[in-house]
Symmetry: C2
Subunit: 224 residues, 2 copies
DNA sequence: TATAATTTTTAGGTTAACCTAAAATTATAT
DNA sequence: ATATAATTTTAGGTTAACCTAAAAATTATA
């Protein structure tokens, strides 16, 4: 179990992991990966073949890819590093949450298990990163999370608390910050507009705000 | 002045910078670089040609290489990152000084000026890294150093203080640690053995120790 | 100073990761 | 059910960074 993968290979594994997570489907299409990694389907086909020869991906031609146990374990460790570094950047270096993704994309490929573990320790073994994403431990175990739902599931009149932002889009994050929405923010759903799937929310300070469908899609909450 | 260099290209610039420093010569031989980077002379020739087309290296065939102003500036920034990360690893994550070089070799290529500056700030803008090497600032200016000489220059009876170890060799660093020699250690030269260029030193606790020529070569001191 | 030794460069090849275009396969729609 | 559309793979090409071996240039030596 001594893989020495290139950054590219790690990125493919991570992408597949994230796409499984996002799409809740176990077989990931080649085009989806290509899209996610901003590369071409032909490049993906090639890489998938290589990774399946290394037994990190399970794949039958034309049928889509999934991760093997080993592939999954590696992806999880890359994600662990990504989220630990994001936490470091925000907590220790005072970066804004919209600035860290890009830098963490680089840092996640640093190869040193000892570094990762010491970093985690230094940060106090954080369970969630600045976007509310759970941070797996050295063994790949994720922390337990409260029951998380998407904001669009919240009914009129219900109270909820933001626990996670499901996107690294800089402008979305800046928008949320400007409107005082962050991890832990408590909100009330005061109105639902069916015609465009937007909603009106109320913050603790009684300020109200209309959120578009696209914004809502990326806000995950727990009910209060 | 917006270069986007590969890790390899950065390594070549850094290597030339370090070799200029070490050899005190302004023209660096192709073979020296090959040796330093554990690559072949033919690869170096190729890369040198490329970097001189980018005007980062000044070079005439068969005559050796030197850095242009731009090449030097880039090398210094890579070195800045290397030394800041080494400091972080030792000061904040409690790594030993013999463990950090390898990891810093990876971290030095992370591209984010903002990260570098925030890291420096987080560390309190350190002037020297764990091996006593000076850390240049954002503008590439190195801190002033006291007059530094090599340990072999110290005469019998003189007192000196270790300010710098001129090697990243793990075993050398472990050896020094085991013998209570580190940056800031005060020593007295009690004997010089001409026949093998070794010396006997005395530490503050009166313990004496014989150091070989190779060890001495890598210990730089200031006289006290 | 001519010859030998060393150093450096060039020529030509390999590998990883990308690409475009064409072919193969699968999915969709009439 | 078959034609069309979409997806995926294959074929063949490019680039960066390495390599070996041979050629060229420089340096050292007899």
């Amino acid at each position: 179990m001594k893989y020495n993968l290139s950054q590219s290979e790690e990125n493919y594994l991570k992408s597949i992991y994230n796409l499984i997570d996002k799409t809740k489907s176990s077989l990931i299409n080649t085009n989806l990966i290509a899209d996610d990694l901003k590369t071409k389907a032909s490049s993906v086909s090639e890489m998938i073949k290589k990774l399946s020869e290394k037994e990190l991906i399970e794949y039958k031609k034309y049928k889509g890819s999934q991760l093997t146990e080993n592939g999954n374990a590696i992806a999880v460790q890359v994600i662990r590093k990504h989220r630990l570094w994001e936490t470091f950047l925000v907590e220790k270096l005072n970066f804004e949450w919209d600035e860290v993704h890009e830098i963490a994309e680089q840092l996640e490929h640093i190869k040193s298990i000892k570094l990762t573990n010491k970093l985690s320790e230094f940060l106090g073994h954080p369970k969630f990163d600045p976007h509310g994403d759970p941070i797996p431990n050295e063994k790949g175990i994720f922390p337990k999370q409260h029951f998380v739902i998407n904001l669009k599931q919240v009914k009129q009149g219900q109270f909820a608390e933001v626990v996670n932002i499901g996107s690294d889009n800089k402008n979305l994050l800046i928008f949320l910050t400007k409107n005082n929405i962050g991890i832990g923010t408590k909100i009330k759903c005061v109105d639902i507009y069916d015609f465009d799937d937007s909603i009106k929310i109320e913050l603790m300070d009684k300020r109200t705000l209309i959120l578009s469908k696209k914004v809502i899609k990326n806000i995950n909450v727990k009910l209060n």
